[in-house]
Symmetry: C2
DNA sequence: ATGGATTTGTCCGTATGTATG
DNA sequence: TCATACATACGGACAAATCCA
């Protein structure tokens, strides 16, 4: 609109004439509409790299021809177009291609189902009612100061050192992770961190074992980087170690503390077997611990990573669940054996840190004041209430017609429904009743012959009061009046 | 520290004894230092999933043995360790592995040269003295509100729609880029965005042409994803089109508006030839426009992308230069023909947005108020002053002994030095004189037989007053008293 | 709401290249 | 060849309007 793509540098047309013609066309074509303020003489001159004179002359010309109006010391404004009846040529000309600058309706496919539901049991929402808004604002504002100008520049590509120190301390205390700050790598998203892992490990074997069913991000991400994703069966106590030995892989992703989506805990005996497998094949284990802090009854489950010192475990965590996804702060803990590989990747690629330095510093301050610990406890208590309410509601309304899988932790349970209806029928009935609950079938990388009818019931996002009525409505939709 | 990795679940040791032993060891080993406050009885019990009783018993035991001290209604605090002379066993034992929680000196290689220099002509610093601190804080605080809780959740994986609209408008006006918001993809870093491009285009040809010399990030990133990076010669007016036809490639990365590092502008004729090449081989052009806003004399150079409608150009830009790198907001503009590929990548991989949603929203508000335009002009004026001062200083001190390459735009110029000394000597002399100026030799993917002695002189980061003395010092270091 | 900083239309002195006499 | 006039462009200056703390 303002920056004319073509400009006759030293040709015959004087600059002010070119400018005048360009702006006249913009107005006639309707791209500059009535009452629109033109850029000030000085601004446009500056933008175009000219002196004010040609701009002024162009504006004067437009002014004298009545295309624009001058409000002294306020600006130039586009006049209403001359009446079409008087100049029919312009009117017909301006019809087809007008308003090119209007937003075009998006052709992008809907990736998230954002329809409003009366009862939203989405599998992993957050409840932000307890988010420490004022404290976060205060700490952010303290981070962003003139006196600390350098904090606005690029930070450590691995993540802010002080922040990594805080995370190392936190992980040691609350998740039993044994690591130094040097082993921690910050990133803005899971995909990015996993991509780094795939680059670090991809020189030899390009296979990754994943839990089936499980969190599909691992399979998807590594596939994008040329890996083959091998589904590994899930037993009652976690991934099947036997299969790991049968197949020629050296990398596996697991969620031992709270399996996604089925919620099982891998017992210590199996954990030791898994670590032994990694040592035997000289391979690596990716430990997904995205909800490790959120265990509601019984003892928290320490990480696999800290069970045996210096084991080949890559631990993945982040602040999306404990704080907010919008901050964009995730991390991973690399085993010592991968540090050199990581450093050479840094050197070769000149990687920048993707996670905002300001948010890293703010989180660091938040943790240094011991506020994270406090906030996690608050959130856990809140989610525990919801969790308990959900279980009570399911028991009350469904009784023997459904059973709950994977309780006591995380942000959802699975509801196994004993119904004659097909999964698709159940889905539709839920939608019609205004209840959001997605089927767990998409978590299978390789679906079994008969899919169990299991549905996600997320409890973290929905408000406490809506849980019981929501479950009641869902039960009635599926089983008629109860 | 607090969460014991090993816990004898139902073994012989009572819980309080395990806890007592654990904490005693922590204190003796020095991991819990004097005057550190222990977690409160209730908190620790909650954390461990126990009742308060065993925790209280453990603390009582520690108290009675003098390891900790109780301050009623205040907390338990670690006492000073018993005197080593009295208990020599502990002292000797605590020497080697003590203070495990202390920050370990990093083994990571120095990636950025962060030594303090008296005169810092780093090639691409920012001057944050004019950063709109208060306005940014205000807008950020307005973005982060209880009433807009949802903004804390995951956002649109492509980037916030309203923000993309603002970027589209901005690019059209100030860079001559023609695009709809649908074509814009937000990301937190260049590497991540380029990785997406490499995944989108990597199904067929895995080759990328890059300017030689040029910005090595393109070669490095695509190499990591299995591409071969082919150096293409640089002519006086930009990349050599002839070579593109000779080699079997279908992807090239260029910086037409201000070539990095040599600062040349690709003339319109060559731009059209380049676009024609892309059409002929059915390939793509990556246009790097990271400093397109910063042209100091003469007219701004409109983007290659907007020269011909619907051309196969991927435009790359970001807010690191115009605002601050620490925000972590970059973007690219995809051609229409790549949108479907991008969408299926989104669907398959379940990509999350990496750039912080809060910063996107804040930037959006900033742009909606027209403040970005204002800020860019301010920064450009500031950098122009520095640019002009640098050129004057070089002329004044070096005279005929050096010439300047690539002026009038960006954040650096190249100084070609006519000296008998080797590059390494010049480097060392500059360092000894307290002047930071890196050689341009690293920008060659494939160095020529004789490397010209060219040095980066960045002017954006250094303060205006230091420019002339800095150049003076540098000249004297290299040529003796002048 | 109120004062100070910034922005804005307008005006003016000057410089340069070209055409004219 | 020289002086003059004109069109075009540059860089400031002024005072009112507007924005912002």
């Amino acid at each position: 609109m303002l920056l004319t793509p073509k400009w006759d540098e030293n040709g015959d047309e004087p600059q002010y004439v070119q400018l005048y013609t360009f702006m006249k066309n913009e107005i006639v074509a309707g791209r500059l509409t009535e009452q629109t303020r033109l850029p000030s003489v000085r601004k446009l001159a500056d933008l175009l790299g000219l002196s004010t004179t040609p701009v002024e002359m162009a504006y004067q010309q437009l002014l004298s021809e009545g295309f624009i109006q001058s409000r002294p010391r306020s600006g130039y404004f586009v006049e209403a177009l001359p009446d079409p009846e008087v100049k029919p040529g312009i009117a017909t000309n301006s019809e087809p291609g007008q308003h090119e600058s209007q937003p075009v309706p998006s052709k992008r496919p809907l990736l998230r189902d954002d329809k409003p539901y009366m009862y939203d049991f989405h599998m992993s929402q957050n409840d932000f009612s307890l988010f420490p808004y004022t404290m976060w604002r205060r700490l952010y504002n303290q981070t962003l100061r003139l006196e600390q100008q350098e904090d606005l520049f690029y930070g450590d590509p691995q993540g802010e050192p002080g922040f990594r120190q805080q995370i190392a301390d936190y992980l040691r205390r609350y998740r039993g992770v044994a690591c130094s700050p040097d082993q921690i790598v910050i990133g803005a998203d899971q995909f990015g961190l996993l991509s780094l892992v795939s680059l670090m490990l991809g020189t030899t074997h390009k296979h990754i074992g994943v839990e089936n069913p499980g969190y599909l991000l691992y399979a998807n991400t590594f596939r994008q980087h040329g890996y083959e994703a091998v589904p590994i069966s899930l037993e009652e106590d976690g991934i099947c170690i036997g299969e790991l030995y049968e197949i020629n892989i050296r990398l596996v992703a697991v969620s031992p503390s709270h399996q996604y989506p089925r919620g099982m805990i891998m017992p210590v005996s199996k954990r030791l077997q898994l670590l032994e497998w990694a040592q035997t094949v000289n391979g690596y284990i990716i430990e997904d611990d995205y909800d490790g802090e959120f265990r509601y009854h019984g003892r928290p489950i320490p990480s696999l990573q800290g069970l045996v010192p210096n084991s080949n475990v890559i631990y993945m965590g982040g602040f999306a669940q404990v704080m907010a996804p919008a901050l964009g702060v995730w991390y991973m803990v690399l085993p010592e054996t991968l540090l050199e590989v990581y450093y050479s990747l840094l050197r070769e690629t000149l990687l920048e840190q993707s996670s905002s330095r300001l948010h890293q510093r703010t989180l660091q301050a938040f943790m240094e004041k011991g506020l994270l610990e406090k906030h996690v406890r608050k959130m856990r208590n809140l989610y525990r209430k919801k969790h308990d309410a959900l279980l009570a509601a399911v028991q009350k309304h469904f009784g023997e017609r459904a059973s709950v899988i994977g309780k006591d932790a995380g942000f959802h349970v699975l509801l196994r429904v004993y119904s004659e209806r097909t999964e698709e029928e159940l889905k539709q009935l839920a939608i019609q009743a205004g209840v959001r609950t997605s089927s767990a079938s998409f978590t299978w990388l390789l679906p079994p012959d008969t899919l169990p009818k299991e549905f996600f019931l997320g409890f973290s996002g929905i408000s406490l009061e809506k849980i019981d009525p929501g479950i009641s409505v869902l039960c009635r939709a599926w089983f008629g009046d109860s």
